[in-house]
Symmetry: C2
């Protein structure tokens, strides 16, 4: 739509109009990616058979722990599992069978219906960084994140064309008490953006606040009949499901709200050092977690997740963008598709302290793998720095720009008459030049993806303008986006009701900082 | 082998030995990549059929120009083409038929037989940047390249574990006369490295010098019976074959030496703006060029190449790491495999002026696409900067390090008993930790790829050590590699013969600088 609008504007005015066009504020959001390319499948049939068999062996013989959660143990016992203390051993085939009631795709509604997303199938929904306690920007360096930082990230996400989802804890607002910050975070996503968002998982009552606030925003009935939030439920690998995360899952599943059920793995620490060993454990954990969600409510929407990094055996640091992570990302795609579940993995992962070349290599490695592995929901798709300790403003816009590359690749190759361009080849002929030909003129505006951050200038111009690197260019882009930001409109009554809910909830609790 | 050696050393000594191990000079070169993963195929059957049909239409109806090359025109006429002036129209099917005598894979011998490479099949051979007139380093900035720079790049290539090939014009040594610099460049590759290398293509007589110097290095008979050099023959797209490049091709093909036959395309300028249109033209050009190589000598080894970038319609600059380039890279892989030819594409392409995040994103996008597209020979796999105007020392080692990621992904997923790691999963159990378990101890040294350039340190250590970005870390690595460099040994007689050849040739010509 922006392009059409831009073209209309462009007609009358020549150079000045084109400049205005380039400077126009865009609130356009691309539709979630619908892949028109195949997935890369690196596991052969034998490997899949072995991994699936071994995962069932893990569940049957070793089992998983559901910690401090008697209700979960009772549910498992009733479903036919062997429960011994907190250990749940699941007979071969049972977990896979239970997973079958989970939908293979579902719609997460946004308050702006144009921005609702369909998660699963051939789709890829992109969401920003989640969880860092620190932020970094080019001027202020690295510091603890605040609610003001949080709001800036939500605004940047709203303004980012290739980002479909507002995410959740885009950084931890450490200046707000731990037991109240989820309210401010939810309010920010609801008010400052109209893209879909994530809920709170740090306590069952905070999950309930999420559901209640969504009830105000979307209407209570709508929430019971539709999915309006997707939340991140981590498994405490290896093979442990803690009561806080499961408590949140229970609230969301009971209310038909979506959960990503995701082992959190630093390979060599929380899983074996081998790819196949890790895939086996991840599959077992995901099957147990998804099966449990279906014990809570058959048909509850879930996403089979994996978060993988390797470990650097010299420093003990997690490492990112590695070949092992890529292979696990590809492998999980195959295994989870065979479960018929939407898949979450990959992101702007990197271990760098700065948004430099290391950050970009590692990020691009993961983004490319995520696209080609068939990921359906990519959390952390922009803004992640320093192994997830830091949300970076500059890297947020750098990565968000690169997400356009994923859209372009995923669109596949058109081969209609216009795409064949035989008339252009005939018109130009040997030794000719395509710039002026009719086909180029008719198609150039949509033919090539164009970065909105990176430098395409001639060397001399670039040098005259200060010889800026990507970090500096991105810092300028951040400022421009924040100054251009305009809040999406919201019904005044809903806004007041949400504000009151947050105020009342906050007043009802003492502050807690840990 | 280095790892085994390192382990032997490690046994006796504890910490000091491990430090020594980490600091040991390595001249190890990894074997060329033998893919154990599938290729990504993004064109469906209908698209392939259309592109192949249209490419034949281009050859038959529009034709290609062989410029100032009567011998070529005569060869084409004899082969059954319709020759009209310099225009050669090739009947449908003829070019594809002629391509069939080109080998689907061939060995390029190195003077160190352990470093010979097999080009084609599932293999991927990695070679460095080719052609830039400028160099850049962190201290000296951007400047015209000299022979001293050239030699440094050859040394870095020799020392780079993941680089299989020494390349060709790693930068243009502008301080040596144009008509003599190929002699110094060849001498540098032959003397300072023992990896395979490329020949000169800037004039037929310089191609002949390549063949003659190879005769000294490998023995004349060996050269006639084996391929000892691979050279880059660009097509002057659209559809034009100039006499200089074709003259060099003729010399190499006659002498059984390999040539990459490669359209050089900035999309929208030298080819249509659409992916399918570009694929059509590239296929037509490659078929014509490869067919011509087989008219010179049936069975001459060739590589079907493509170099693609998009154009930025605002600045006219070529752009890299774009979705369109990725799709052309994938598509060409499918089309060229159907011709039964080895495939050259992708590389460390980027448009950035500095080895920053832009450079790394764009490079990683291209490297990943090249790996998964089934590229067999990747020229420019490290060191490229600023759209090919600059060879960067720091980026050379940064990229060369990332090539290790490609090796790791390509190795695929083992699923033997050790890889399954079921004993580890049993040993550790729910809530446990894998770091100390027997499987981890037995496998950790080879389990994870580890960067040799990037930063994996804890934040505090990194900050204490000066908070260096990748550019600075790479600059230190460049210095270390150059100071550790040791020349591979060479037979004194051969060295003297090569030196004499170069001296005599140089003495026989006046200096030319353009």
């Amino acid at each position: 739509m922006t392009e059409a609008r831009a073209r209309r504007r462009g007609r009358g005015g020549g150079g000045a109009a084109r400049r205005a066009e380039r400077n126009a504020v865009s609130f356009e959001t691309a539709k979630y990616i619908e892949r028109n390319i195949p997935n890369l499948e690196i596991l052969n049939d034998e490997a899949i058979e072995i991994i699936e068999y071994n995962a069932e062996t893990v569940l049957e013989e070793i089992g998983v722990n559901f910690v401090e959660n008697p209700a979960a143990l009772a549910r498992w016992k009733e479903a036919g599992a062997d429960v011994d203390g907190e250990r749940v051993r699941i007979p071969r085939g049972l977990a896979r069978e239970l997973c079958k009631t989970a939908p293979s795709q579902f719609t997460q509604h946004a308050r702006n219906p144009e921005r609702s997303v369909v998660i699963g199938g051939n789709n890829l929904v992109l969401a920003p960084v989640y969880g860092p306690p620190f932020v970094r920007d080019i001027d202020g360096g690295r510091r603890y994140a605040t609610m003001a930082d949080f709001e800036k990230f939500v605004k940047l996400g709203y303004m980012s064309k290739w980002l479909h989802h507002s995410g959740g804890t885009v950084c931890e607002p450490t200046d707000v008490p731990v037991n109240k910050r989820h309210l401010d975070m939810l309010m920010a996503h609801m008010e400052l953006s109209d893209k879909p968002f994530m809920g709170s998982v740090t306590a069952p009552e905070r999950a309930q606040d999420t559901v209640d606030m969504c009830g105000i925003l979307f209407g209570k009935d709508f929430v019971q009949q539709n999915t309006v939030t997707t939340s991140l439920i981590n498994i405490n690998s290896p093979m442990q499901f803690d009561d806080v995360m499961m408590g949140a899952l229970e609230v969301f599943a009971e209310n038909n709200q979506a959960a990503i059920i995701s082992p959190f793995i630093v390979g060599g620490a929380m899983a074996p050092v081998s790819v196949t060993g890790t895939l086996t454990q991840v599959l077992a954990e995901v099957m147990a977690g998804v099966a449990y969600s279906q014990l809570i409510r058959k048909g509850a929407p879930v996403i089979a997740g994996t978060f993988v990094s390797s470990i650097d055996m010299n420093s003990g640091a997690p490492t990112f963008g590695t070949p092992e992570a890529a292979k696990i990302t590809y492998g999980c795609g195959q295994l989870f598709r065979r479960l018929g579940l939407p898949y979450r993995s990959a992101g702007s992962f990197n271990g760098s302290k700065l948004p430099d070349a290391q950050a970009a290599y590692e990020t691009a490695n993961s983004l490319n793998a995520g696209l080609l592995a068939g990921v359906n929901f990519m959390l952390h798709s922009c803004g992640w720095l320093e192994g997830g300790l830091v949300s970076s403003f500059e890297k947020f816009v750098m990565d968000a720009d690169q997400l356009g590359v994923l859209h372009g690749i995923a669109s596949g190759v058109a081969h209609d008459k216009n795409a064949q361009a035989m008339d252009a080849i005939r018109e130009v002929g040997p030794g000719g030049h395509y710039l002026g030909c009719a086909h180029t003129q008719a198609n150039f505006q949509s033919a090539f993806w164009r970065s909105d951050v990176l430098d395409y200038k001639p060397f001399e111009t670039w040098e005259e303008e200060g010889g800026k690197d990507t970090y500096q260019l991105a810092a300028e882009k951040v400022q421009k986006m924040l100054s251009d930001y305009q809040k999406p409109s919201m019904d005044a009554g809903i806004h007041e009701a949400l504000t009151s809910y947050v105020a009342e909830k906050k007043a009802s609790m003492p502050d807690a900082f840990s």
